[in-house]
Amino acid sequence: MIDATLFAAEVVPLSIVDAFVEFLHPSELVGVLVDGLSKAAIYAMIAGGLTLIFGLMGVLNFAHGSLTMVGAYLGGAIMVLSVSSATGPMTRLAFFFVGIVVVFGALSAVGGALEISLIRRLYDRPPIAQILLTFGLTLIIDELMRIVLEFYDLQPRADWIAAWGTKPWFLSQRLSIGPVDVRGLALFEILMGVLTVGAIWAFLTRTRYGLFIRAGSEDSEMASALGIDVRRVFTVVFAMGTGVAGVAGMLLMWDTLWGASVPLGAETLLPAFVVVIIGGLGTFRGTVVAALLVGMVDAVMTWWFVNEIRFTGLPELTIFLILVIVLIVRPQGLYGVEGVGGH
């Protein structure tokens, strides 16, 4: 017994020190950094639409994850139908960007229709009612998707493998840049994340409609008194938010870590909530910072899980712990303003 405890006491700290030294090795660090940035890009994309909707309308959209899932399948269908094995990599990329436009348009239409037909009825009810309604929508959307998938003989619970095969070859390989070895798709995801965040940012700060949205977020009564049609702004924002969710889904459809499947809805919904709440409900800047934070923590913890600590849920566990700690220490989130969202 005594020998065993001495043995343990000696070995455990040493191995942790060793692991730290290995972790701090430049090539490992850069690998983790790239991984973290790609995760942050995805988190920013799945949470971006959610935060737009919450910031302006105070609606916590539980159907967001399911709409991401619909985007993944729609995007996958576009790619699988248009790409054959002979299609060159650049053509595949071109199809992808065409697909993004189609998915954004289609899901915006769905989002706009949902807002006009259902969500609009609940603005004067307590915020819980909107959570409930959108939660019910997820059930309907998921089950409808299952009907469609089973009609085409696809497994709803398993990732859609045919969609993975539509990537250009350089995105499905690992690229070696100097001593560092990174996933090609990770770089593409970072690019897409930067583009999406940049586009939303430009829309919010550089366009007239963005001005309406920011005014509406600050004080919707005052904005409507100044002649802004706040109802229309609500519809546009909801449509845009679901459109962004669809685009994020289209990207996830290529990623073997996520993949298009019906459970993708629940898998993306929870991290999206975490990011939005850590950042502060309703601030786009906060969401981006929180996505970076969560992405980095996720990457670091994934490295530790793979190399040292044998606990499967480690990255996920840490992410939810961050949520809890942020809510305890700073309930309004990193950049949130007190008083938003029913404090």
Binding site: L60, L118, R121, L122, R125, P127, I128, A129, I131, L132, L133, F135, G136, L137, T138, L139, I140, D142, E143, L144, R146, I147, E150, F151, A266, L270, F273, V274, I277, L281, F311, T312, G313, L314, E316, L317, F320, L321, L323, V324, L327, I328, P331, G341, G342, H343
Partner: protein
Amino acid sequence: MATADDEHTRAEQGTGWRSSWPARYARDHAVHLAVVLLFACYPGIYHVATTSQFGLVFESFLPQVQTMTPILYFGLFAMSFDFISGYTGYLSFGHAVFYGTGAYLVIVIANGKIPLLAAGTPFMISVVLAAVLAALIAVAIGLVSFRLTGVYFAMITLGFAQVFYVFIRGWDWVATAPRDGPSVSFGTHPEGFRIGIPYVDGASYAIGRLYGSGLEGFLGLFDLSTTVVSFYMIGLVVLVCYLAMQRIIHSPFGRVMIAIRENEERARAIGYNTFYYKLGAFAISGAFAGVAGALFAGYRRSVTPENTFYFLTTGDALLSSIIGGLGTLAGPLYGRLFEQGLDEFLSKGSEGGGLLPMLQEYLSRSILETNALGLTIEEMIDAFINGRASLYVGIVFVLFVLFVPNGLLGSLRERVGGPIAKLPGRLFGGEKP
């Protein structure tokens, strides 16, 4: 009007047998009694109805007895969810933690993993321990979470629940394959879990479909199968828990809970320390959720992280509560009954009847094989209706949120003008509403 008023006053002043306390008590609980009787007679009703001339129709529409047992314990979980969410207005989106704690504790005890507690610890003691542990966890979570309100409260409880979920899914102490969840090992706990008075064999019956007690010649009349005995024993525990929660809601403590829901600031201004009331309500609600989880584990003998700690388990309780009526204690049970009844009605398997077997019996083949839009009617039912209960539950749920915000029981209560349990008193006892 004058005569009616006179009668009211007479009843209140206490003349005649009508105002003696047993009569009052019976009147107050007449509806409870009727519902309990209905549930108690259900196995018999089901048996008679399904073996009658129109057996197939009844078999299609009535849930099986073995479906009713899960409805009871999950209904208890949904009631405990409603106890905190419907009465104080704080949406506890992490309520699955307490359910999961109860379920896992029972199995871990039965596997002999807890020091000082033998594997053969009576189930009733495990249930009480599950309630205590769940209440303690509720206090720990509540201490932090009740500093927040509204959406933030829902989110922090969800965050805590997910921490527990991810942790339990990776913790290999509870089960050899923690992702698939633990089950009661036959080696350490070969017999069924017994509900009743601990250590007295004659006063307790085992639950579970395989391990439960069957009763032959009960009262010299019936043979009760393990399914039916489990239904009664679990129903008994659920009934006791319901009456306890109902008592609390109608106590001064419960009034303060409702005051918090209606206007927390005002409740605080009157002098109530609302924080402690919320914490107390949360602990009580957690304890009953723990009991529900313990019953679930005792009945099924194996659980997974997905059907205990996962946030969609809370989602199911939420569905039942909304359909049944948030803020009516018994409502969630009826909500669950509705939801599971629909689920069984539209189930794919032939077990327990369902829509398709019934149509196959009563409609001619030619109608079922009519071609419409490239599919026969039978294929259409199979693709869009059978096994798609969650689609229709979702639609019903959305319609309820939009148009029936008070739920089944809440709307009925509004129509009647007060709690249903008070109705006989008003109708027959002359009590004022």
